[in-house]
Structure formats: structure tokens, C-alpha cells
């Protein structure tokens, strides 16, 4: 009994140490990012992890002004939010259809969606550019939205479909007995129940879309009217020099919306992650 208890305490201590160590590993780059954002290049290289000898808050102001970060953040938000809305509008009914389909067509659709995972984004760059030009949407935010939605659909549909499958059929049958049509069943029954999974999908898509660089650069381009924050920030780096203090200050600013999105969706996402553990 005593030995077992000692083992338990030892295991718990080890677990705590491991968790704190892992947390420190995650915090270290974040700390480096924040302190670097308050230094100039020389100070960053002289003592990367030390506190700034002079707190250069002006880095934030300059990063904001030099690349018109306000405009770029608006563009990022515009593209990301509209993409998220479109993904939800399209992926939820698609997932419901795929999950409830009993025929071969449903299976075929689901398997064809998995093929979407096999194509890396940059491999599709040329056809994507051609499509943008062909549609007359080159150098527009609207094409970015369409592209991001198309890219996010396979994973979103498959994740949501798995969650819908886990819900009991009886719910739907009861609703149908009460006279609800499919749209009402989806809206009133399933949508509230799949919110944890939807939150997970939204968060994953938010991070992917917000941080996307290559398509935003190549198709959106560097024009201030269109470029997203991810395209604006690297323009602080020239072909001969980089201002790392400004760059990290801008990066901190651009990270804030991602963190806010996580805070907003955290609870529901955690519910989705643990729901499987409570079943059975």
C-alpha cells in the first residue's frame, strides 16, 4: 500500500515536471518574440533572451505605420471571416448529407473528399493562378476567399461528418415524426449538438487562413488595398536587410486575433476533444 502510494506520488511529480517543462518549451519562443519586439537588430543579436536595455515601444507604432498594418489586418479579417462563414454554410449540410447517406454515392463523395488531403497547396499554384485569371479575379480578396473555402472543405466535412455519425439516429427519427423537414432537423437538432466539433473546425480553419502566405502573396499581391497581414509583414524585410524588432512587433500584433479566436472557441473545442473520452 505504501509502495503503491509512493509510486503514485512519484508518477504525479514526474507528470507535473513534464507538463511544466513542456509549457516552458512553448513559452520560450513566445517570450523571445515579445522581448525581441522591443529591441533593435543589434540588441536582439547581442542578447536574444535578455530584457531590452531600452524598451522600444516605438517598434509597434512603426511596424503599424510602415506596412499599413491596420489596412492589412482588415483585409485578413475580411478574408478570414467571410471564408469561415462560407465554410460553415457549405460544410455543415455536406457533413450531414455524407454522415446520413447510406448509399454508395455518399461513400464515393466522402472518399473523394479525402483525396483533397493529398494535394499540397503549392502544387496547385499554377492551376489556381490560371483559374483566378480566367475568372477575372486575379488580385482580388474574393478569389482568396473562394480558394480558402475550397481548400478547407475536405477536412471540415470529414471532421463534422464523423461527429454527426456519433449522434443517435433516434433524434432525427423523433423529429421527423413530429413533422420536421431535413433543413429543420439540421438547423434545430444537429447544429446545436455539433457545436463543439464546429468550434474545432472553425479554429483550425481560422489559423490556416489567417496565416496563409503563398496564395495571398501570389494571387492577392502586394497592393495595400488587397494584401493580408501575412503579406504585409514580410515587406519589412528588404533584399539586403531585415528589421527584426519591427518584424517581431508586427508579428505580435498579428498573433493577437488568433489568440482571441482561440479564447472564444476554446471551451467548445475542449468539449469536442473530451466528448469521445466520456462515451461508452
Amino acid at each position: 500500500m505504501t509502495g503503491s502510494r509512493a509510486l503514485s506520488i512519484g508518477t504525479r511529480t514526474l507528470s507535473h515536471v513534464a507538463v511544466w517543462f513542456y509549457a516552458a518549451l512553448l513559452l520560450l519562443p513566445l517570450y523571445f518574440l515579445v522581448v525581441s519586439s522591443l529591441k533593435d537588430n543589434t540588441e536582439i543579436y547581442a542578447d536574444g533572451f535578455g530584457l531590452p536595455p531600452k524598451w522600444r515601444w516605438e517598434n509597434y507604432v512603426n511596424a503599424w505605420n510602415y506596412v499599413d498594418l491596420g489596412h492589412a489586418l482588415f483585409n485578413s479579417a475580411y478574408v478570414t471571416v467571410l471564408s469561415e462563414i462560407l465554410i460553415i454554410v457549405l460544410a455543415v449540410p455536406a457533413a450531414y448529407g455524407v454522415a446520413r447517406s447510406r448509399g454508395w454515392i455518399g461513400k464515393l463523395v466522402e472518399r473523394s473528399l479525402t483525396l483533397g488531403f493529398l494535394i499540397p497547396g503549392f502544387a496547385a499554384l499554377v492551376p489556381t493562378v490560371l483559374l483566378a485569371i480566367g475568372l477575372g479575379l486575379f488580385r482580388t480578396r474574393e478569389f482568396l476567399i473562394l480558394d480558402y473555402v475550397a481548400g478547407a472543405m475536405p477536412l471540415s466535412v470529414i471532421l463534422l461528418a464523423q461527429y454527426v455519425r456519433a449522434l443517435p439516429h433516434e433524434l432525427e427519427e423523433s423529429a421527423r415524426v413530429d413533422g420536421a423537414n431535413r433543413l429543420q432537423i439540421l438547423w434545430r437538432i444537429y447544429l446545436p449538438l455539433i457545436m463543439p466539433a464546429l468550434a474545432t473546425v472553425m479554429l483550425l480553419n481560422f489559423i490556416n487562413i489567417w496565416n496563409e502566405y503563398l496564395i495571398a502573396l501570389v494571387i492577392g499581391g502586394p497592393s495595400v488595398d488587397i494584401r493580408t497581414a501575412q503579406v504585409a509583414l514580410p515587406t519589412l524585410v528588404t533584399n539586403q536587410a531585415a528589421q527584426f524588432g519591427l518584424l517581431t512587433a508586427g508579428t505580435v500584433i498579428v498573433l493577437i486575433p488568433v489568440y482571441l479566436c482561440y479564447l472564444a472557441l476554446r471551451k467548445r473545442m475542449e468539449n469536442a476533444l473530451v466528448s469521445g473520452a466520456l462515451k461508452g
Binding site: 537588430n41 547581442a46 503549392f122 499554384l125 493562378v129 486575379f138 528588404t238 533584399n239 528589421q243
Partner: protein
């Protein structure tokens, strides 16, 4: 700053976009529709000395000419942005970038127009230094663009650190090896270099041509044949000797130009190989300790004095869209080529230009470092062949990867030459 992942993505994207361009895809954009507006893509970020002067002179030009210049900043990805826009028929009218790598392929890809005739028709042939025009002229005689910024690319020496270690500035490679040992013994890192990027590539090629005459170096840079050349192999062996003797800073193979500059500017390293564009980053407290010189040379080599590079940096390329509104472009280029405008880059940003600026048009107080670079350095060094003009643009990235391997300890001269030859196809 450029990460390897981003570099790979950029190279992939460049290949894809080049294919797109060569297939003749064009969206037929309307950027040529407004003759009083020209668009210019540049890497010059706001907040940098050069970027701020560029914006200032453009504002003056707009007020003077009534022509609007829309500036787009592409950072390190200017070539990729330009090529993609060109594929869609929406290329900016002017691109402000240097004549290395991708841009060297732009005339053949039909993305920019040769400016040979414009130079003479606009009366600018005598405005720029002949060597700069020659550098931007292809073997077939076509001038690729208007060169603008120039540079001296010496070795920067921190004399205070050399004094601390009790050694002189080296002029021979034997002295360099001895100096590096003394510096290390004094706890000072010797030669800072970004072994993982273009700065390391340039230093490697500077050392590798130590025993090559200009014609031989030109041929090898253009066509390869490193392993087959005894003199090239002697140069590569000299490089490995310097590397193995600890001349370069620790972990040089993983560093980039920005970390090289920081190591020198913070006083951690006693030497670096950097161009005059770094002048604006030199801290005031270090200025008195900076001495420019050449790279130490071996006895019996092709050079009789320590070597440096000189050449041109960013210039102006005219796209096919720009050629359709050539009157406005002419006014802009002619304005930029005026000595008064060029003098502002020298005075305010310490950026050398290829424009012949009379001394009386420069400010009264030229920076001592700038004066040292422009007056003293050219008399003290021999100029090595700048490889950017001769190494084919489409293999430059691969060559940088090979030279990065060369900085890694243990890489033999045979392995280095084989790697370099492999990329010439």
C-alpha cells in the same frame, strides 16, 4: 530572415510561375490604361534609409511632374510577385531590384523590355558610370534595365578588436589564419559570415577565384568545370584550409547575412564581408573602429592585393506594361538619374549610386566611413570578379545551397567541387 521553408516555397513557386509565363498566359490587364500613373514594385521598405529617401524623391517627382507613382513593396519576394503579375498581364510598370538571379531571365521570358535604345534616346548614356552600364548589358548587347544603386563590398575590420588581440589587419591568407588564431585566443570570434545564404556564397566564390584569372573565373562561374580546373581546385582547397583553421565564426554554415552583420556590429566578431548598404546599420560608437580593406590573398595567387567586390545593386527594369506608357516612365527615370536626386541617396541614406554626382552637389559632411569606402578603398584593393553577373540566374539558389555545405566542417574540396559542378547540368 528568409527561412529555408520559405525559400523552398519561393523556388517552387518561381518555377511554377515561370512555366505559367512561358506558356503565354495573359489576363490582359489594364495597368497601361492610365498614362499619368505608373506603378513600381520595390523591395525598399519604409523605415529603411534607402526606402525613406526613395519615397521622399518620389513625392517630389509627383509634385513636379503631375505623374502619380504607385509604390508596391514586395520585400524579398519581388521577383515572384512580379512574375505572377506579369503572367496575369498586370505587371507593374517598373521593377526596382538588382540584376541577380531571376531578373536575369526576364528579357528572354518577355517580361521586361531591353532599354538599350532608351538610354541613348533619353540622353542618359553619360549620366551613369560606364562600368555599371556594362554590368547590366547582356552578352547579346541588350541593356536589361537602368542600374541605379552601386556598392563597394569590402571586408570590414574592427580595429579595436584587432588591437585587443595584438594582431595587424591581414593581407595574406597566412596572416589571416594566424590572426584568426590570435583573435580566438583573446575570446573574439574572427570572421563573421552568413554561410547559409548569398553572403557566404559571395565569400566562397571570392576565395575560390584566388588563383583564377578573370577569364577563367568568368568561364567557370558561367559554365561550371570546377573539378576539372587545377586553379579552381586550389581556390577551393584554400577555402577549406581557412575554414578548418577556424577563420570563420562558429557555426558559420548555419548563419545568414543579418546574423553576420549583427555579430560584427555588436563587436562579437572582428571581420565581416559586407557591402556599403550596411553603412546605415553601423552604430556610432563603432564607427571609429571600422576600417575597410580587402580579403587576404594567398601568395602566388591571381591577385597582387587584397580583394573586394564592387558593382551595382537595385536598378529600374521596365515591364512590357511600362513600355506602353513610356513617356511617363521616361520622365521618372530621367528624374531619378539627375545628380540632384542621386545626391540625396548618398547624403541621406549613405547609398552609393552609379550616377556621376559632382562633389559640389553632395552634402558638406560626407560620412567618414563613406569617404573611406569611395576614396581610400579603391586604391588599396584589387577587385575580384563579382559572380552574380555570370552565374546563371536559374541555378543561383542551388549554388547557395552548395556553398552552404562547403562551410560545414568536414566537407572536402572534392565534394565541394562535385556539388558545384552538379548544378550546371
Amino acid at each position: 530572415m528568409k527561412t529555408r521553408a520559405r525559400a523552398i516555397l519561393s523556388v517552387t513557386a518561381f518555377g511554377a510561375v515561370t512555366a505559367l509565363t512561358l506558356t503565354g498566359c495573359s489576363g490582359g490587364g489594364d495597368s497601361a490604361s492610365d498614362a499619368d500613373t505608373i506603378t513600381m514594385l520595390t523591395a525598399a521598405a519604409e523605415g529603411t534609409p534607402g526606402g525613406d529617401v526613395l519615397r521622399s524623391v518620389i513625392a517630389d517627382f509627383e509634385a513636379e511632374s503631375g505623374i502619380t507613382v504607385e509604390l508596391e513593396v514586395g520585400g524579398e519576394d519581388v521577383p515572384l510577385v512580379f512574375e505572377t503579375a506579369a503572367a496575369a498581364g498586370e505587371a507593374p510598370d517598373i521593377v526596382n531590384i538588382n540584376a541577380v538571379r531571376n531578373p536575369l531571365t526576364w528579357i528572354d521570358a518577355g517580361l521586361v523590355v531591353p532599354v538599350t535604345d532608351y538610354l541613348t534616346d533619353w540622353g542618359l548614356a553619360d549620366s551613369a558610370l560606364p562600368a555599371a552600364i556594362e554590368e547590366w548589358t547582356r552578352d547579346d548587347g541588350q541593356l536589361q534595365g537602368f542600374p541605379y544603386e552601386g556598392y563597394q563590398w569590402p571586408i570590414w575590420y574592427n580595429t579595436a578588436l584587432f588591437e585587443e588581440a595584438g594582431v595587424e589587419i591581414p593581407t595574406t591568407t597566412d596572416e589571416l589564419i594566424a590572426a584568426a588564431a590570435e583573435l580566438r585566443a583573446a575570446g573574439i570570434q574572427p570572421f563573421a559570415i552568413g554561410g547559409n545564404d548569398w553572403s557566404g556564397q559571395k565569400l566562397f566564390l571570392q576565395i575560390a577565384q584566388s588563383y583564377l584569372d578573370a577569364d577563367a573565373a568568368r568561364a567557370i562561374f558561367s559554365e561550371g568545370g570546377w573539378c576539372a580546373s587545377d586553379d579552381a581546385m586550389k581556390g577551393i582547397e584554400l577555402f577549406t584550409e581557412l575554414r578548418d583553421a577556424g577563420v570563420f565564426v562558429d557555426n558559420a554554415e548555419g548563419l545568414e547575412a543579418s546574423s553576420m552583420s549583427a555579430a560584427f556590429m555588436t563587436g562579437d566578431a572582428a571581420m565581416m564581408s559586407a557591402g556599403s548598404w550596411e553603412l546605415g546599420n553601423a552604430p556610432a560608437e563603432l564607427a571609429d573602429s571600422i576600417q575597410f580593406g580587402g580579403l587576404a590573398v594567398p601568395s602566388g595567387g591571381a591577385f597582387d592585393a587584397p580583394t573586394a567586390y564592387q558593382g551595382t545593386a537595385n536598378g529600374f527594369w521596365i515591364s512590357t506594361n511600362g513600355a506602353e506608357k513610356i513617356d511617363a516612365v521616361q520622365k521618372f527615370i530621367t528624374y531619378m538619374y539627375s545628380p540632384e536626386v542621386a545626391a540625396q541617396f548618398v547624403d541621406q541614406a549613405q547609398i552609393l549610386t552609379v550616377i556621376d554626382v559632382p562633389a559640389d552637389q553632395l552634402g558638406t559632411e560626407v560620412s567618414p566611413l563613406l569617404a573611406q569606402l569611395t576614396s581610400e578603398l579603391p586604391t588599396e584593393v584589387a577587385y575580384a570578379l563579382q559572380p552574380d553577373r555570370y552565374v546563371p540566374g536559374d541555378i543561383t539558389e542551388q549554388q547557395i545551397r552548395q556553398t552552404a555545405l562547403a562551410f560545414a566542417p568536414g566537407t572536402s574540396a572534392d565534394s565541394i567541387c562535385a556539388g558545384l559542378d552538379s548544378i550546371y547540368g
